[in-house]
């Protein structure tokens, strides 16, 4: 199982990394959103605010990649004609699908590199990490947690033929509710409890607190706990989907 997950993650990460359009999208988008944030916050703002905006734009890009990629993950396999083979493989379907969604999240490292470099070179934002080791821990934990949320998304959108469109429509609502760039304090009070159930909220908190100071351990623990919950939910959905698809013989149909 571990080999399936590891090799799947490696293959899909390399595959996405070889796609010029995917890499271009994941690097250009956060740069542009970070630039919008710099100008909206004002270039004279506290450098820590601008650095946080860079990180927020990075997590936004990761969420976008997952919303698009996970929404269309099963649809893509269906189009490629590999869905039956993957379902028939002697490993749980979730173990095949999880590396795809985590890989769509992991290519966010390109976004991080591009956004931090852009901020440093063009806006002179100092790259000072308060807890570098915690940052090195927060980033992969956040990536896995967001990827696992993508797995839930992929498993619940299976029966929706335009899952790519529907997945993409979660992009802005996610950015807003997760408090990635807009502080949760300016949103209506009922938004906060929703944000607590979403891994990117805690991923962003872990990354932010390990960068500008604070205690990121609680946020890291929440990411891990949510990842486990997402895995349970996704496995349940996928099992139900697989059973229904076999019963109705509709696996490759839309």
């Amino acid at each position: 199982m571990i080999r399936v997950l590891a090799s799947g993650l490696r293959i899909h990460f390399l595959q996405l990394s070889r796609s010029a359009s995917d890499v271009l999208g994941i690097t250009v988008w956060p740069i542009l959103y970070a630039t919008i944030a710099y100008y909206m916050f004002g270039a004279e703002s506290d450098p820590r605010v601008l650095l946080t905006a860079s990180l927020g734009a990075t997590v936004m890009a990761i969420w976008s990649s997952v919303a698009f990629g996970s929404g269309g993950a099963i649809e893509l396999q269906r189009r490629l004609g590999t869905l039956e083979l993957l379902v028939a493989a002697p490993v749980p379907f979730g173990a095949v699908l999880a590396p795809i969604t985590i890989a769509t999240s992991a290519i966010g490292v390109y976004a991080l590199a591009a956004t931090l470099l852009w901020g440093r070179l063009l806006f002179g934002i100092p790259l000072h990490f308060e807890h570098p080791l915690m940052f090195a821990l927060s980033l992969p934990v956040a990536i896995v947690a967001i990827g696992m949320l993508g797995l839930v998304l992929a498993s619940t959108l299976i029966f929706y033929r335009a899952s790519l469109f529907l997945g993409a429509s979660f992009e802005y609502p996610g950015w807003l509710v997760m408090g990635l760039l807009v502080p949760l304090s300016v949103l209506p009070g009922w938004v906060a409890p929703i944000s607590w159930l979403l891994a990117p909220t805690w991923g962003m908190r872990a990354i932010r607190e390990s960068t500008i100071g604070g205690s990121p351990l609680r946020a890291i623990a929440m990411c891990l706990a949510l990842s486990a919950c997402y895995a349970v939910i996704a496995v349940a959905f996928l099992r139900a989907f697989e059973r229904l698809a076999r019963e109705r013989a509709t696996l490759a149909l839309t």
Binding site: S21, V28, M40, F165
Partner: protein
């Protein structure tokens, strides 16, 4: 008559096909949810940063909402032919090229106006923004012109679909570019001169100025110059799009490179 049929029916069919199996309802999540939440996202970011009032963001983002069907929709109707392997057949048909490709912009303009109106109405309701009823007719005219100019840029991007494997990424990159340079969210006086110059050469910047003027109580005559500029930009991109389509079609025939990647 045949060209008119190609223009209207062909354009509509091609645009509906964007949403898969000719069911436009599949596009609703992207055409309603995304633009509305984009508006809310920037309005709340505006509140957090103190940049401007909610009215500023409602007007700017409502016009910006036309960019999605305009850029992604129109370019998709051209590049989609490559995906479905019908590009060769399309270009070997004797159909009038102007009718063939311009017909694909018309549904996007209508869609763009509809999305903009939806955003304007829901944004004003949700954020309690007030727009005088007397400003609405002129505002509608601005929405139509902005949807047209966005579709014209989409036609230019789509033309590259005859030579480039995946222009959808280019179309998607233009969306945040417009978010930055059009003045919809970042006041232009905060932007460097060179970014402002780029914005003034792209759709929306002048239309947004005109719309904000109308909402602020100015007349159409006062905002007329900005609106004419927006219209001229749309016409310029339409002309450029048609020329690029003809050029790439000619080149692809000459070098037998129509569907090479």
């Amino acid at each position: 008559m045949n060209s008119l049929r190609v223009f209207f029916r062909g354009g509509l069919t091609s645009y509906r096909a964007l949403f898969g199996w000719l069911n436009p309802w599949l596009g609703v999540p992207m055409m309603a949810v995304t633009p509305l939440f984009q508006l809310l996202f920037f309005a709340y970011l505006g509140r957090a940063t103190g940049v401007a009032s909610d009215t500023y963001f409602v007007v700017g983002n409502s016009l910006l909402a036309a960019a999605l069907p305009g850029l992604v929709g129109v370019s998709g109707t051209v590049s989609g032919e490559r995906v479905t392997k019908t590009l060769g057949m399309l270009l070997s048909s004797p159909a009038n090229r102007l009718a063939l490709f311009l017909g694909r912009t018309l549904p996007a303009v209508v869609n763009g106006v509809a999305v903009s109106v939806f955003c304007l109405a829901s944004g004003t309701l949700l954020l309690d923004v007030r727009i005088a009823a007397s400003a609405v007719p002129a505002l509608m005219l601005v929405l139509v012109v902005c949807a047209f100019s966005c579709s014209a840029l989409g036609l230019c991007i789509g033309a590259f679909g005859l030579r480039v494997r995946d222009v959808s990424v280019l179309a998607w990159v233009f969306i945040p570019v417009l978010l930055l340079v059009s003045g919809a969210n970042v006041p232009v006086d905060r932007l460097p001169d060179w970014v402002r110059a780029i914005g003034s050469g792209l759709p929306l910047a002048h239309g947004i100025v005109a719309a904000r003027g109308l909402v602020a109580g100015r007349t159409l005559a006062d905002s007329g110059r900005a609106l004419v500029l927006e219209l001229m930009i749309g016409l310029a991109y339409t002309g450029a799009g048609i020329l690029l389509l003809r050029l790439f079609e000619f080149e692809s025939r000459r070098t037998a490179s129509l569907e090479t990647m």
